[in-house]
């Protein structure tokens, strides 16, 4: 059955039915938009600086005196994607252990941040690094020397963790 009452054409005024003024209004809007500032970021030249709450590549904190990690294996235990492998080894310092092997498979990591949450030593934190490109699956497994980052670069993340964790 055809609808004959209160159709779209009944509700429109004469000028709206004429289309042309409305089209002119729309075109004025798009013309104005042409000169507004753009939202695009020219990526390789202009990089995003994430806020401290950003969860990028997980890294190991290194203080002046050495790594914080005591190889307790909690991160590896909690990791839902089984991305972390920790094998402890003994050392001479007052901390008794340090990881002999610490690997994160970046193809498995889902950036959930559980490792950071569970770590009793604040030794593994999520960094701001989001440029993760690998040319082979072997390259994507990051060994310990590629994971360590000096504590100075991670201050704002540690600060954020202290406040909100």
């Amino acid at each position: 059955m055809n609808i004959t009452k209160n159709t779209a054409s009944d509700r429109l005024s004469f000028w709206e039915k004429l289309y042309l003024p409305e089209i002119a209004k729309g075109m004025a809007l798009t013309f104005k938009t042409m000169f507004e500032p753009k939202f695009t970021r020219s990526y390789p030249e202009e990089k995003m600086t994430p806020s401290p709450s950003f969860r990028g590549r997980p890294v190991l904190v290194v203080e002046e005196t050495g790594g914080r990690c005591v190889a307790c294996g909690l991160c590896s235990r909690v990791c839902p994607a089984l991305a972390i492998e920790v094998r402890p080894g003994p050392i001479d310092a007052e901390k008794e252990r340090m990881p002999k092997v610490f690997e994160i498979n970046m193809l498995r990591c889902i950036f959930c941040g559980f490792c950071e949450e569970v770590c009793p030593e604040e030794a593994i934190v999520m960094s701001k690094d989001y440029e993760l490109v690998f040319t082979s699956p072997e390259d994507a497994i990051l060994p310990k020397d590629k994971l360590t980052v000096p504590i100075a670069q991670l201050q704002d993340r540690l600060e954020w963790l202290r406040q909100y964790r």
Binding site: I23, T30, F31, K38, T40
Partner: protein
């Protein structure tokens, strides 16, 4: 005999120049389209290939050349191959009768600016050729053996039939005013009254609007791009085309845009004339400098119209099919008839 040879050579040179200009102009239109659409959506647009992304259309065409050319198993191979050729061929051949400037004198010879601009039935030939252009789209839709393509092709034919009538009537009103079917005479008539400013847009504003709308519909541009409506028909008549065959449809769309802008310019915007005597700035009638100057004016006017078409495309949503038919038959056709009737009466009483 020598004369005929000379005419053939001259025509060949003109044809090559015009086809190349048309293809370059299609590339420029593609670039403009991408840039303007980007700006209207608060984006930057292509800026990687060459300075300001100017080489982007060439990169696009290169990509299309490199792509595999797929012909579907169930397709009619002959017509599937023929359809893009018809579309592009018709789009280019319309330029046979379009004049670009006044004839120039070069070494004692009068050279027409255009292949056959002095043709007495120029505008009729243009109308005839643009209606043949729909065959390419309809054949492409049918021969692809795909429901979406077929729907696109059928929509295109229905749209062309509905809008060609109003288009013809709008043109007819202009012809009645000018008293000639020749495009050069129509331009000359606009220049010769009101000290060069009696452009038909001022005495035929309704005709201009009708012709502009139908021109958009004829070139299948948004808001009349129902034959290739992405959201409804995947990609309409060119769903099954890939590689350079798709590229030909793509080029034809932009060539058609340039054609319809050129015809609007000739019929309503005074063609290549500006409302003052070119001898005021030191260009004598018949000199090649004047020819180049007029050609540039013509191109600028065409590009203003092309930009307007792009602007409209990125402003308006697509018509629904019933709205399209309502607009064509219930609004534009009566308006065009009334416009033609009033024009005829006024011309009759003035003369």
């Amino acid at each position: 005999m020598n004369d005929i040879l000379w005419i053939v050579i001259e025509t060949l040179i003109k044809a090559i120049v015009i086809i190349n200009l048309l293809l370059v102009s299609a590339a420029i239109s593609v670039y403009l389209e991408r840039k303007i659409s980007a700006w209207m959506q608060n984006r930057i647009g292509p800026n990687r290939v060459g300075p300001f992304g100017l080489l982007q259309p060439f990169a696009d065409v290169f990509k299309l050349f490199m792509k595999e050319d797929i012909i579907p198993n169930g397709a009619n191979k002959f017509f599937h191959g023929l359809a893009p050729i018809i579309t592009l061929g018709i789009a280019i051949s319309v330029y046979a009768v379009i004049p670009f400037a006044d004839p120039i004198n070069l070494g004692g010879r009068v050279i027409q600016m255009g292949i056959a601009p002095q043709a007495d039935i120029g505008i009729l030939l243009v109308l005839a050729l643009t209606s043949v252009g729909v065959f390419g789209i309809a054949l492409a839709g049918w021969s692809s053996n795909n429901k979406y393509s077929l729907l696109g092709g059928i929509r295109s034919t229905a749209q062309m039939i509905s809008y060609e009538l109003s288009m013809g009537l709008a043109i007819l009103a202009v012809i009645v005013v000018a008293g000639s079917f020749s495009l050069s005479n129509i331009v000359a008539d606009q220049y010769s009254h009101w000290s060069g400013f009696r452009w038909n847009i001022f005495i035929q504003p309704l005709g201009f609007i009708i012709f502009f709308i139908t021109g958009l519909a004829e070139t299948n541009r948004a808001p009349f791009d129902l034959p290739e409506a992405e959201q409804e028909l995947v990609s309409g008549y060119n769903t099954e085309y890939s590689g350079m065959r798709f590229g030909m449809f793509f080029l034809a769309e932009y060539a058609n845009m340039a054609t319809s802008s050129a015809i609007i310019t000739l019929l309503f915007l005074g063609g290549w004339t500006l409302p003052f005597n070119p001898e005021l700035i030191g260009l004598s009638i018949g000199s090649w400098q004047l020819g180049v100057f007029q050609f540039l004016i013509f191109v600028v006017k065409i590009y203003i119209l092309i930009c307007t078409m792009i602007w409209i495309r990125w402003t308006l949503p697509r018509f629904r099919y019933d709205q399209l038919m309502n607009l064509g038959w219930k609004v534009l056709l009566p308006l065009a008839l009334i416009n033609f009737l009033i024009t005829g009466l006024v011309v009759l009483f003035i003369k």
